[in-house]
């Protein structure tokens, strides 16, 4: 009974983590950018969906779409206003661009967070779920919304896989992550590929944010923990490795659920952090990462 409950809850949370972390790792894999405004973009999507559905009364579907749209806009804004200027800057030495991108996106994330807090207060917001009610699975009363979350996450990840492996654009993205210079030599514009990647990222972060808002609820305080959890999942899986992140998301998701059910919800994040430190010492490049 309890085992099934852990299995089911853990799956939904893990799927959500996986979706959130996939976009993050994709951007790193392709353009070497660690986007520390990740959590802020997810929260922006959830709050936009909440505001559209609960304040403007546009309905849950339209609200969810607006949420994803806002995340897409926020992702483009991050790229064009923060990341691209730093990457193109001649005054910043190349070896220091990484720390500048980190600092820049971090500040940008704080700006988004503060704007959300200013206009929508710090209160936790729960987006109206698209599907309501509960069902019994294996004797566990499960909200339909939880099943919906898991299914959407898996679907979106499958779509991403198809996009990357089966379409021309996707193959260009994959190539850029392997060898950016080679891609430019083949006559592809690297900037266009980056724009595509940021668009994919925006949609992934938006869907993840909206689902999170329906499943657990968000507030502007969730920004930091969300970025940190995506960051640790991605590092555990290996920076830039999408399949590594997926595995890591499930490891972290189940570890957290197990701890929360069997030990105490207060210690929820500790085993995952310990595992992370352990992996960093034994295998610094993560589970499936390349050096």
């Amino acid at each position: 009974m309890r085992a099934f409950q852990i299995l089911i809850d853990g799956f939904a949370i893990s799927a959500l983590y996986a979706l959130g972390a996939t976009g993050f790792t994709l951007i790193f894999g392709v353009s070497g950018v660690l986007n520390l405004s990740h959590g802020a973009i997810m929260v922006a999507a959830a709050v936009a969906a909440w505001a559209a559905a609960s304040v403007l009364n546009v309905g849950t579907y339209a609200g969810a779409l607006i949420g994803v749209g806002v995340a897409l806009l926020a992702a483009f804004a991050t790229y064009f206003a923060v990341v691209k200027p730093i990457q193109d800057s001649r005054r910043i030495p190349n070896e220091e661009k990484e720390i500048f991108v980190l600092t820049g996106t971090l500040l940008w994330g704080i700006m988004i967070q503060e704007l959300i807090a200013y206009f929508f207060t710090n209160n936790a917001k729960t987006v109206l779920p698209i599907v309501e009610g509960v069902v019994e699975i294996l004797g566990v009363r499960t909200p339909k919304n939880e099943i919906f979350t898991a299914i959407v996450c898996c679907l979106v990840i499958a779509l991403l896989w198809l996009l990357v492996n089966r379409t021309r654009t996707g193959k260009a993205v994959l190539a850029a992550s392997m060898n950016p210079r080679g891609v430019t030599l083949l006559g592809l514009e690297l900037t266009n590929i980056y724009i595509v990647v940021w668009a994919i990222y925006g949609i992934l972060a938006g869907v993840a944010g909206v689902l999170l808002g329906m499943f657990l609820g968000v507030s502007s305080y969730s920004v930091g923990p969300l970025t940190a959890s995506a960051f640790s999942i991605v590092v555990l899986g290996g920076l830039g490795s999408v399949s590594g992140s997926l595995i890591a998301a499930f490891v972290v998701g189940y570890l957290e659920t197990l701890t929360a059910y069997l030990v105490s919800p207060a210690y929820r994040t500790i085993p995952a952090l310990l595992l992370l430190v352990f992996v960093m010492y034994i295998r610094p490049q993560g589970l499936l990462g390349r050096r």
């Binding site: 720390i99 807090a117 610094p284």
Partner: protein
């Protein structure tokens, strides 16, 4: 080094310190309190800059070192009643040990991986403090019975003196041959190693120095506040402020980091009437500086001087 004592930077710094030292004679206790905190923050930022600007190690968890120093001093004083000065020294020592532990992965992994390890260290410390609430006061914070002094002026002078001495030592170190080797090993470890310098030893030394000043400053801050809490010395947001200060003031300048920290804290206070938008405005200004003046305040000023 000798050139420094005749440079314009030296005279400007000297003048600033002298002006700052006379402040308690004519400004209110409120301003002094604000600046006292800003000076301790300045030391955090300078210690961070030594690691990042010179050793090339991106430490996302400056608050791990600060927090260990602050909490060690606080716990020894609050739970065991040891004297303030002993607690401060032991806090700094605990921080040095923490710095050594933190340095171990740094010698194995580089770049973002090391950055993450330091971030995880902060999260672990934060969890540790919450889990062992009996000892540490948990989320509410630890109340500390003793203070160094209750006079606002004396506290201010202690902070100013501490910052000035730290700045002199850290700046001197950064300009010394050791600092140059550090800078070389940060920029190209392979070549620096090929020239015969022991990179591991130098980086370890940088960690110890950075940890010592972070911990000492953290311990002093705790005895100024009279309380140690996650929100003031450990939270990731505090670490972010330290990093932003250093980048804002100008990385690889040491002294700029202190300027950045003072600016950040004073600006935050000036913007208090704007309410919740204060943090937004400070972040936006910091972002603009990062984008358009990547050298920071001092970097921009120094390069102008070099050109003219």
């Amino acid at each position: 080094m000798a050139g420094f004592f005749t440079s314009r930077l030296f005279f400007v710094s000297l003048a600033l310190v002298i002006i700052a030292a006379t402040l308690p004679l004519y400004v209110s206790g409120y301003v002094l309190g604000l600046l006292t905190v800003a000076f301790y923050f300045g030391v955090f930022a300078m210690a961070w800059d030594l690691l990042f600007g010179f050793a090339g190690e991106v430490n996302f968890g400056p608050t791990f070192l600060i927090g260990v120093g602050a909490y060690t001093a606080g716990i020894l004083n609050a739970q065991f009643g040891w004297s303030v000065y002993l607690c401060i020294v032991l806090g700094a020592l605990a921080s040095v040990i923490a710095g050594l532990v933190l340095a171990l992965p740094a010698l194995r992994v580089r770049g973002p991986y090391f950055g993450l390890t330091t971030l995880v260290a902060v999260l672990m410390l934060q969890n540790f403090i919450v889990v062992f609430a009996d000892l540490t006061g948990g989320e509410i914070g630890l109340t500390i019975p003793d203070v160094i002094t209750i006079s606002a002026g004396a506290n201010y002078w202690i902070a100013l003196g501490f910052m000035t001495i730290s700045a002199a030592i850290l700046y001197g170190l950064s300009q010394s041959p050791v600092g140059l080797v550090l800078q070389a090993s940060g920029q190209d470890p392979v070549q620096a190693g090929a020239l015969g310098f022991n990179i591991v030893k130098h980086k370890l030394a940088a960690f110890i120095v950075s940890a010592f000043f972070s911990g000492l400053s953290g311990a002093l801050l705790v005895f100024y506040f009279g309380t140690a809490s996650v929100g003031t010395v450990v939270d990731v947001a505090v670490g972010v402020n330290v990093i932003v200060s250093a980048v804002l003031g100008g990385r690889r300048t040491v002294l700029g980091a202190a300027l950045g920290a003072i600016f950040l804290i004073v600006a935050g206070e000036f913007l208090r009437p704007t309410g919740e938008l204060a943090t937004f405005i400070v972040s936006a200004v910091a972002l603009l500086v990062v984008l358009f003046f990547p050298g920071g305040f001092l970097g921009a000023a120094l390069s102008r001087e070099a050109r003219s």
